[in-house]
Symmetry: C2
C-alpha cells in the first residue's frame, strides 16, 4: 500500500499504449504507481460502483489499497476474492463471481475491476462479459505475464474438462492499468515465466527486439527501467496485432507461437504448478516450435539453438525433460494438441518460424511429422 502511494507521489515515468479498436479502443497505462489512480480513472469512466475481483494472494498484498483508492474517489467498492490458481478458472467459480457482482448491484455503467494475474483477469473479464450481457471492466494485472499478455486484447474465459480456455468471450477492457511496482512482490520464478511471453514478441516478428532481449533480459528480471521498457514494448506489439485482428480470424493466431506445445504440456501436467506454470510451458513451447521448424527445414538449426540458448540463459525450460514429474509421451501429447482450440476441420495448425522474428501460421500440418518430432523430443534427442 505504501509502495503504491510513494510511487504515485513521485510522479514517475509512464507510458500509454492505445489499443486501436474503434469504439472499443482503450488505453494501457504502464508505470510505477499507476494503481493509485484506479479510483480517479474509474470515476472518469462514469462508474458509480466497482466490483473488485481478486485472489487470495493478491488480496493480502494489494487489494485493500486499491479498494481504499476507489472508495476515496467516491465510488462504492467491494471485494470478490477467489482462491489463487488455475483451478479458479472453473464453471463453479465463474458462477460465484457472477452472482457476487450481481449481489453488489453492478449496473451497465459500472465496472468490474480485475486485480490479479492471468487467472483473475480471464475469470473476472469473462464474468464482466456475461453479467447483464456485458458490463465494462478494467484490468489491473499484478504479474509480469498478465501485464505483457493476458490483460491486453480482450480474450477472457475459463477452462473446461476438455481443455484450457475453451469457454469464454471476446470482451475488451475499458482500461488496463499495469503498475510495474506491483511486480516487486513477485518471486523470481513468476518473473521468469512472464519473461517468456516477452521473448515471444521478438520471435514472432521483431528480430531487433529479440536481440534487445538477449542483451537486456537479465536487467528486465532484475528490475529497473529495462523492465518498464519491455512491458511497454510487449503491450505495443500485442496491441498492434489485436487491432489488426481482434477475433483471431487471421494474424492474431501468431500470438500462439509456442502455445500449441505449451497447452499440451499443461494438460499433461494437469495444470499442476509444482510441475510447471504457463510461462514455463510457453518457454519450452517456443524452443519446441523452433526445433520443429528446423526439423521441417523451415528455419536454420542455428536459429533454434539461439532461441534455446537465450531462454536457458534466463533459467527457463527448453525441453520436455526439464519438467520434473512430467512423463512426456508422443501420443498423449498429440491427443492433447488435437483438443486444443486451434483445430480446424480435423487438421493441426501450428505457428512455425522461418527464423527469429519471422513466424507464420502453418495450417494443415502433417500429423505424421508432428509424431516423428514428438517421438524424438520425448526420447531426449531434440537437442
Amino acid at each position: 500500500m505504501s509502495a503504491i502511494a510513494d510511487a504515485a507521489s513521485s510522479a514517475p515515468a509512464r507510458e500509454t499504449v492505445r489499443v486501436a479498436l474503434g469504439e472499443r479502443a482503450y488505453d494501457i497505462v504502464i508505470g510505477r504507481g499507476v494503481a493509485a489512480e484506479a479510483g480517479a480513472r474509474a470515476a472518469a469512466l462514469g462508474a458509480r460502483a466497482v466490483a473488485l475481483v481478486t485472489d487470495d494472494t493478491v488480496a493480502e498484498l494489494h487489494a485493500e489499497a486499491v479498494r481504499n483508492g476507489v472508495a476515496a474517489a467516491g465510488l462504492r467498492a467491494e471485494l470478490v476474492t477467489v482462491p489463487s490458481g488455475e483451478g479458479s478458472k472453473s464453471y463453479a467459480t465463474l458462477a460465484r463471481v457472477c452472482d457476487a457482482i450481481l449481489a453488489q448491484r453492478i449496473e451497465r455503467g459500472d465496472l468490474v475491476l480485475a486485480l490479479g494475474g492471468g487467472v483473475v483477469g480471464d475469470l473476472a473479464g469473462f464474468a464482466a462479459a456475461i453479467v447483464r450481457r456485458g458490463v465494462r471492466f478494467v484490468q489491473m494485472p499484478t504479474t509480469l505475464l498478465a501485464q505483457v499478455d493476458s490483460s491486453v486484447g480482450g480474450k477472457t474465459g475459463i477452462n473446461s474438462a476438455h481443455g484450457k480456455n475453451l469457454v469464454g468471450a471476446f470482451h475488451q477492457p475499458s482500461l488496463v492499468l499495469a503498475d510495474t511496482a506491483l511486480l516487486d512482490t513477485l518471486c523470481e520464478r513468476e518473473l521468469r515465466a512472464g519473461y517468456a511471453e516477452i521473448v515471444k514478441y521478438g520471435l514472432i516478428d521483431d528480430a531487433a527486439f529479440f536481440a534487445w532481449c538477449e542483451a537486456n533480459g537479465a536487467a528486465v528480471l532484475a528490475g529497473g527501467p529495462e523492465r518498464e521498457r519491455a512491458v511497454a514494448h510487449s503491450c505495443r506489439a500485442k496491441a498492434a496485432i489485436v487491432a489488426r485482428d481482434e477475433r483471431e480470424e487471421g494474424d492474431r493466431a501468431l500470438l500462439n507461437l509456442g502455445h500449441t506445445f505449451a497447452h499440451a504440456l499443461e494438460r499433461l501436467a494437469h495444470y499442476d504448478p509444482s510441475i510447471l506454470v504457463h510461462g514455463e510451458a510457453v518457454a519450452a513451447g517456443l524452443a519446441l516450435a523452433f526445433r520443429f521448424s528446423a526439423m521441417l527445414g523451415l528455419c536454420a538449426p542455428a536459429d533454434a539453438e539461439r532461441v534455446e540458448r537465450h531462454l536457458a540463459a534466463t533459467g527457463l525450460p527448453t525441453t520436455l525433460q526439464a519438467f520434473a514429474g512430467l512423463s512426456p509421451d508422443p501420443e498423449r501429447l498429440l491427443d492433447a494438441m488435437a483438443q486444443d482450440k486451434k483445430v480446424v476441420a480435423g487438421q493441426l495448425t501450428f505457428i512455425l518460424a522461418r527464423g527469429v522474428g519471422n513466424s507464420f501460421i502453418a495450417k494443415g500440418v502433417d500429423v505424421a511429422a508432428v509424431r516423428t518430432f514428438l517421438a524424438r523430443e520425448c526420447a531426449g534427442g531434440g537437442r
Copy 2:
C-alpha cells in the same frame, strides 16, 4: 403479402424475414415443414457437424426427425438433451451443455442447433456464444412464444438467484427456422401464452396490427393461415426493432412492454409453471402497463380497457388475482422489479403507453406512483 399468395402454389407457404444486422444479418424462415430443411441449410452454412440441443419434451416429439434430416445431409449430428422447464436456464445446465458441445468436437465452422422453446433457445444460444468464444447457432423454435419472440434478436442467457436472464450474451443466430407445423403439438395454454407476445407488437407501435389481432386472434389460436401471418408479422416487427438497436441501448427496450411487471410476477411465483408461464405473466403485464399508464394520465382508460378486453377474450390473465397460488404484495412486487435489469442508476424504467400502438420508454418513474398503483392492483381495485 406475397408469401400468403404463394400458398396457392404447390410449394408450401413460407415467408422469409431478413434481420438486417450487417455482417451478422440472418434470415428467419417461417412456414409449415421448414424443419425438414435443417440438414440442407446447415450444410449450406458450411458446417460439418451439428450439436442438437433440445429438452426432454421436444426430444420425444421432434428431435429424431431433425437429427435424421441433418445426418441425411452428410453432417455429424448428436443430441444434447436437458430437462424441460425454466430450471434448465442454470449455471449447472449451461456447464453441462458447453461440455457436451465440446465433447462433440464442434469447431468454429460448425453449428449448435437449438430445437425447443425459449428455455432451450436461450440456453443453447448462450452456450454457443461462449464455447470456443463463440460458435454459430441456428434457432429452431418449437413454441409459438419462441417463434415470435425469443428465437429472434440474439438475446441469450440463463437465470441467476438474483433474477431472470441476468447472465448471458448478445449472440445472433445464423438462421432461424420457424416451422409452424411443430406448433400443432402444443397445448392450448402454451399457444395462448405465445399469443400474448404477438399482441405486444400491436400495442408497441402498430395499432392496425392490434386491430387485426382483435379480429383474428381466435383464428391464430385455432391454426390456419392466420397463424403463419401472425408469426411472420411478429418476426418482421421484432427484426425491425433489433436492426435499429441490437444491444438495447435505445428503442429495443420497447420490446419489454409489460415485462417489468411480468418478470416481477414470475419471481413471486418462483417460475412455477403451475402458477403461471412467461406468456401469461406478459399478458397480465401488458394489462398492468396500460392501466398504470391510464392511472398516470398518459393514456385513456378506454385504451386500457380495450387491451384487457382482447386479452381476456383470448383466455389470458389480466390481473394479479388471475393467478391461483400467487400472493401478490406491493412491496414484494416492487422489490422484484428493483432487481430487474432495467434498473439504471437506481431508478425504475417502465415501458408505458399513450395509447394502443403508442408505447414509449419512461425513465426514472417515481417509485411512489408505482407503489400506489401496485397497492390498488393488489387490492383488486385495478379494474
